[in-house]
Amino acid sequence: MIFQRLILLLSLVWAVIGGTSLIIYDSESIDLDHPTPELLKIVRYSESKFNQTVVRGYTDDDLKIFIGEESIVDKIFILPTTSKKILNKKELNKVNLVKLLEKNVDIVVVGDHEKNYPEDIKDFLNEVGIYPSPKGYKLVDHFNSDDKVKLTKQNIGCSRILSSIDKVYDGQSAIIDNNENLIPIVKASSTSFSTNDNVNSIDNDNTWGIGEQSFVVVGLQSLSGSRLTWFGSYDLIDEEILSWSLGFRNILKLQFVQHHKESEPSKLDGTLYRVSDQVIYTIGVSELADNEWKPYEVEEGDALQLSFKMLDPYQRLNLQPLGKVSSTEDGPLDTFAYFVNFTIPDQHGMFTFELDHKRSGLSYLSDKKVVAVRHLANDEFKRSWEITNAWYYIASAMFVVVGWLIFVVNFIYVSRDDSQRKNI
């Protein structure tokens, strides 16, 4: 087992990025001493990127993913297999795969139109919303001379993940459902369809996806930040896509979120505001690129948006760029700060500063900060004499008081004198 020793040796060498990757291959038909070129390519790639690369077959009894509830791997490659058998089903099953995505393990699944998926892998993909065509189905395009599908720049579904492609493709495709977290990375061409029947005319029963409803590379961005990528065939594996799949880039991070009254910049993140306060909301966002955090500047025509909401948004504002800042004291300028200065609406209640930035191809940013907005206190209103409208009423009251005094004086002294005089 020279190959395994090689792996062991290599794993001792510190790789570019830490972490452990697990490659699950077809151990029934591939001998590790004579690996297929596709497998070798993936192993080499993995070794160049990770601390440790573990290669295990579907039927190996030492296939281990969990210790207790904790995952011991960070990335998993699931490669095509001729047999549908999984020996260690306790470790590798559909429920665990979903669990792995929750534990921020990135998963790459590679398909093959001549091979089956093990039941659990297929169920797992279906659960996410990816339905790869069954064994035997193949993507064809009769508008091309050799019935193969030409993949060009027009077939790219998400330009943030893949910038260019130029391939002639011959392999599996999938249809996907409307799961909002799914990202079509490479679509099939509009004249292609997937079928296992070369005799009859095509209809709904003997096809598996028609035109641009077929996909050959599909990604999934989970809410927790992990990614799943499905490739229709080895041919499509591309370093650019893999760097996205394995979380080396397009990862956003909220470095800080702060809010404060404009008049009290030193009091950060108070939980109590007053109606009509002037508030400044600031965030710092970094993006992972080339293995380090860099300031994230939103693309042209896009913007980070703040909702100030209580059940419904009362304010929905685009954040203004502030400039590059550092997330740590005396650290490098790794963060881009955005801010917005706005007036709290004249409505008391429990408001949420909500940031929700979901763009396909980028990891999601979301943040909620609940604050109370109180009403005016009894001594925070204008005094009556400051309101010009009230002068009229104040004057009336004064006149009544003065008139009453005059009346009393008149009644007690003046008019009594009169009556006395009359009586005399």
Binding site: L101, I176, N178, P184, T352, V373, A377
Partner: protein
């Protein structure tokens, strides 16, 4: 009694002895009324009762921990999430301020650092002693001090009043009845002697009353009504004028200082009677002046013309201003006073409160025992005298008898006048039958003496028996019916020994210790105050039912399917849902029994989505068993109530002990948007946690079903999914 014939016993002035006896009687009465209210502490413990008192207690704690200024401007961000409540401006602060003052006095001046909870628990009994004293003064004004003492002891132990003032019943009524009696006493006093001083005292106690209880409107209407009747009877005099104007001017200005009342006294219809009578009495005074200056005949013409003018202007003005919206229209509670079915049709939230239901007739006897049949006698005796102050008793008695018949809770305001008139009746009776002086005069024959003596003995002994029985009844009712805190339930073990069901506190304590401090808990509004007070968690709705729509929203979440409910829960940031379920031990006050009200209230807001009919079977029955309708079985409330219920029955059909219905095993509900996190010992309180949105973007029903059924799909079938957008 003249000064020349001062009687002396053992060389001591008889007046001194009388005073001494009175003081001793007062102390005994106060002792009796306080001690009978302590049953709840002895039976259970020193704990705040029921629902509203928990809010008052929480507010009091806020007051003593912060300043009065903070309390006045308190914006409560832990209730009515996310609306919040301007608590400082929407409560009657009198009760909290009273406790706060007592707490500060004891601590700062006497060096007695008493726990605020104990002050709150014991405030109502302490004030009941004062109520007895003011009742004494009021009744003394009506008849004499003998009647006063009787009224005091009746008031001290009458269950109708005890029901709201046992130890731990820390509610507004606890001090409000005292203030009611005090205000009425000072009103009678000032009206009798025409004193500005007593008029001012009336206004001051009226102000205290306004600060303490929304029922102050009762005074606001009763005093003007008294004056109005006096005016109609042609009993106008300058004393009345002085007393009323002093009270109205000072009292109204003072009452407007309470933020919750604000400008209501000049804008709300409930206060228009007082304003109208204020105007009327000015006109009457003016007319009185004119009358003294011009001949009789001219005055009659003047009177007719001015009467028509004033009536026209007054009624026209009232209608006009109401139509223009300057005067607030009458509130729903006001309408329901006149039409008992009004609330049921128009405002389910008012009708859903049990204390707003019409009174059942045995309740009168239960709450006042023999006083209820002495009450008409007292009123009759008042008619005999019919002085100005007796008119007050008559009006009060007649009005309140009606109101008490309409709403159970108004029994409370009826009780004092029942005590007063019954005391007048009994004391009149005793005046006659306890007068044994004729035995000393030998004018009558022995035969007459014997018969009078016998009849007197018969009447006196029977009334002694009645009085004894009354005390016995009051004690029994107090100890058995009105001393339960309802937070802790009394029960019995199979062997008959007393047991205590403490599920509520168990659950609230769990919430307090196991959830995040800013967790939002959704429950039906009945438990809002308790969650706020005991668990200290943010609630969506509570017993201060100021926003019907918000309550309807919670009701909608409870009676909709999981998918609909989940959106509501997420929109309101709900973390936990708390329900009350009595099916295990047969506790009938649970949420399934209140469920119809949730449906009705939410149907009022969303008539297109919620239909009460859907929750009944074809034959119009309310069922939870196998025949329960689909809407019922799919409602979140049903699912939360019976989730895992069958596990108690080893997988057989479960039996709900409240509704005596069997829930088939195939009806066992499954929950996909909630996780059960806590169920109390007797299953009374169940708490569920709202699941987060699925990490992969699936809907939660699909997510929770995933991995459960291991049905294998060998044949690869093309899935039926919509086109990708």
């Amino acid at each position: 009694m003249t000064s020349t014939t001062k009687l002396k016993v053992l060389g001591i002035n008889i007046e001194t002895i009388k005073l001494l006896l009175q003081v001793i009687i007062f102390i005994s009465i106060a002792g009796a009324s306080i001690s009978s209210r302590l049953f709840s502490v002895i039976r259970f413990e020193s704990i705040i009762h029921e629902f509203d008192p928990w809010f008052n207690f929480r507010a009091t704690k806020y007051l003593v921990n912060h300043s009065f200024y903070d309390f006045l401007n308190w914006f409560d961000d832990r209730t009515w999430y996310p609306l919040g409540r301007v608590t400082g401006g929407t409560l009657y602060p009198g009760l909290m301020v009273t406790s706060g003052v007592i707490w500060h006095t004891l601590r700062d001046w006497f060096g007695l650092p008493i726990d605020i909870r104990n002050i709150c628990v014991l405030l109502a009994p302490a004030f009941s002693g004062l109520t007895a004293i003011f009742t004494y003064f009021l009744t003394t004004e009506m008849k004499d001090s003998n009647a006063g003492l009787l009224a005091a002891i009746f008031m001290g132990i009458a269950p109708g009043y005890i029901s709201r003032s046992v130890a731990g019943s820390y509610d507004n009524e606890a001090i409000a009845i005292t203030l009611l009696m005090a205000t009425f006493y000072f009103w009678i006093k000032s009206m009798k002697i025409g004193s500005v001083f007593y008029g001012t005292l009336t206004a001051l106690f009226y102000f205290y009353m306004v600060s303490a209880w929304g029922g102050y409107v009762f005074i606001t209407n009763l005093i003007p009504l008294h004056v109005f009747v006096l005016l109609l009877m042609g009993r106008y005099n300058h004393k009345l004028y002085t007393a009323y104007n002093t009270w109205y001017a000072i009292g109204t200005l003072a009452s407007m200082q309470i933020p919750f009342v604000g400008f209501l006294p000049i804008r709300s219809n409930d206060h228009m009677a007082a304003l109208g009578v204020f105007g009327l009495i000015q006109l009457v005074a003016f007319g009185d002046y004119i009358k003294s200056r011009i001949p009789e005949k001219q005055f009659k013409t003047f009177l007719t013309v001015s009467m028509i003018l004033i009536a026209g202007l007054g009624i026209g003005g009232l209608i006009g201003l109401t139509a223009l919206g300057w005067i607030a229209p009458w509130t729903g509670r006001f309408y329901s006073l006149w039409d008992t079915s009004y609330a049921k049709i128009h405002i389910p939230i008012i009708a859903s409160v049990s204390e707003h239901q019409p009174t059942a007739w045995p309740a009168f006897f239960f709450d006042t025992s023999m006083l209820i049949w002495l009450f008409p006698v007292g009123v009759y005796l008042c008619f005999q005298d019919l002085k100005d102050e007796h008119l007050f008793v008559i009006i009060y008695g007649v009005l309140c008898s009606y109101f008490a018949g309409v709403m159970v809770r108004l029994m409370l305001t009826l009780t004092p006048i029942i005590c007063v008139s019954a005391a007048i009746a009994i004391s009149k009776l005793f005046d006659v039958y306890l007068d044994l002086s004729e035995f000393w005069h030998s004018s009558s024959s022995t035969r007459t003496k014997l018969f009078t003596g016998l009849s007197k003995l018969l009447v006196l002994s029977s009334f002694t028996y009645y009085l004894f029985f009354f005390v016995y009844h009051c004690t029994w009712v107090t100890s058995n019916a009105y001393s339960s805190p309802s937070v802790v339930l009394a029960s019995k073990n199979p062997d008959g020994s007393p047991a205590i069901i403490d599920d509520y506190r168990e659950a609230y304590y769990w919430l307090r210790m196991n959830t995040a401090e800013d967790a939002k808990v959704m429950s039906w509004w009945d438990y809002g105050y308790q969650i706020g007070g005991m668990a200290d968690r943010t609630t969506l709705v509570d017993n201060n039912t100021w926003n019907n729509t918000h309550i309807a929203t919670v009701g909608k979440a409870m009676c909709s399917s999981e998918e609909v409910a989940y959106d509501i829960l997420k929109q309101h940031d709900v973390d936990y849902v708390l329900i009350i379920f009595g099916g295990v031990i047969g506790f009938s006050g649970d949420d399934i029994n209140k469920f119809l009200w949730m449906i009705r209230i939410s149907e009022g807001i969303w008539p297109d989505e919620i239909h009460e009919r859907d929750y009944f079977t074809e034959r119009g029955e309310y069922r939870v068993d196998g025949q329960a309708p689909k809407a019922m079985q799919e409602s979140l409330m049903y699912k939360m109530s019976y989730y895992r219920f069958h596990e108690l029955f080893m997988g057989r059909d479960a039996v709900d002990r409240v509704r005596n219905q069997q829930i088939p095993i195939q009806n066992a509900p499954e929950l996909s948007v909630l996780d059960e996190v806590f169920t109390s010992t007797n299953w009374i309180v169940r708490i569920y946690k709202v699941k987060d949105a699925d990490n992969l973007g699936r809907d939660l029903k699909k997510a929770s079903a995933f991995g459960k059924n291991s049905k294998k799909t060998r044949i690869a079938k093309k899935p039926k999914i919509d086109l990708r957008e």
